[in-house]
Symmetry: C2
Subunit: 334 residues, 2 copies
Amino acid sequence: MSELRKDPIVRRWVILAPSRNQRPSDFAKATPTLPVPGAPCPFDMGNERYTPPEILAYREPGSAPNGPGWTVRVIPNKFPALRVEEPLERHAEGLFERMTGVGAHEVIVDSPDHDKELSEQSEEQIEKVLRAYRERIADLSRDQRLRYALVFRNHGERAGASLVHGHSQLIATPIVPQVVAEELEGCRAHHERTGRCVYCDMIDQERRSGARVVRECDRLIAIQPFAARYPFETWILPRRHAAAYETTEPEDLAALASMLRDMLARIGRALNRPHYNYVLHTAPFREPDLAHYHWHLEITPQRTATAGFEWGSGFFINPTPPEEAAAYLRGIRS
Amino acid sequence: MSELRKDPIVRRWVILAPSRNQRPSDFAKATPTLPVPGAPCPFDMGNERYTPPEILAYREPGSAPNGPGWTVRVIPNKFPALRVEEPLERHAEGLFERMTGVGAHEVIVDSPDHDKELSEQSEEQIEKVLRAYRERIADLSRDQRLRYALVFRNHGERAGASLVHGHSQLIATPIVPQVVAEELEGCRAHHERTGRCVYCDMIDQERRSGARVVRECDRLIAIQPFAARYPFETWILPRRHAAAYETTEPEDLAALASMLRDMLARIGRALNRPHYNYVLHTAPFREPDLAHYHWHLEITPQRTATAGFEWGSGFFINPTPPEEAAAYLRGIRS
């Protein structure tokens, strides 16, 4: 049973999830949990029995749950960091605050295809993945104990993936995560000062300059952010103000599928199929109409280990100016 | 020439250091910069000519700078993220703020011994390393343009080290780093509320409970923090209130050398010689007497890649309760 603990000095919460691991004495002999060669992949079609029962699946008409016939499948994480079955309880002990590990931890399997990277899927397939995100966020947001759903993708070992078969994850938490809370504060401060959304202003400024824009369509824009942390860090944002991902329309999702496929393909060409993460930044649950927040997707290629400087400072060292990266990505045919 | 850029939404700064790398078009063919087998190690005794001229060295009497005869050597990073020679200039352009890359980026070489991990060095040698940190912080703090010096160690590839020969780094910045600024804010809030230092309160509470204490001596205490981010994350703090590392007395440094060697040796036994980072958390320059801040050292073993969830949330998932890790570390003879 897991537990949430708050650092007594900063706003950082930690999820202690002991069931995910062994006793401390096992550490010295523990090896990384890479897949055993020849072992069945739990995300392949026909191997549905190796996962917990599905939460959502897009299926051929007539196919039965937890069997073959699906295109996208959402399942609980087999080793969940948080569980929706827990009651929400808070305790304090002097300086220290803790909370029961209430939440959700789900896996969204890209497709039955074991080997395809997301950018190699069809736009229709990617759109289904994006639709599954929306459906799961909308469903979980009805649980009044929960405040946020973080959707993210770890691709490749250096980005934290432990399974090869393409998938994303969703972790829903009873607290708004620190990174999101800080974004919301920055956005609120800008809105109080100017009456405008800072992301809308940023999109305007980027479109006027053009130097960091990779591509835009009617609905979306893809940029290299001004203060990029990593070479080829890419943000995709809706051009029209919208705080919450779950309010996207079908046309938005089709456009996002096309833009995401294109950006991942270009980054893949530029960096020779890098390990990467992406994270969906969206409004907290039940606040879809925030005037100061703007949902977006941040793609961060991971080429080197994060080191003491980044951990200790919260600052990043990036060798590649985003203007150069944008020019390079614009020149790639995807 | 590098540049500091501020994210327009949050307080994150990024150091754009283009000289550290190649053009974007080189990325696809670039390979990680692991040492070439047989190439001379620039940190070995006798190879001083492969580094920029030394800033500080503890030397045998009569030995000449930039030659053999040293025990600890401090040199500029050959590919510095920031340079002290730049003038400090700030520019704004709409939403975006930038600053010239003023600062310092130094390397502190542990010893002439190529293969020894820090915990395998003598306490006297470790004390010299700790003294070099203090001397460099005190020297750099006289530069009125600079606000902070972050001292950190990357040990092993997974912790971001690119050279095997044991060393630490120091990066001095014209801004207080975000992580430190947030700590300072948390500490100030606690002090305003209670009139006390939150770290002093934490040490009291930990000593009363004992569950997370690994070891203490007259001057220092080593704990597993309540909200540990990683298995076996270890903090070493002075028991008596002190905001700034550069005010440590010689006896403090001797005690810290002994405690640090012991903790690294125990963690090394527990995790089978893990990759790890440590970061020195200390007060900003020229504020040595803060009543609300308390310097300390945070050691974070790195066993797995940081993944999308941690990047996207600022939260961490830790499988090992710090109470279990503390009990295990207490049982190890170092």
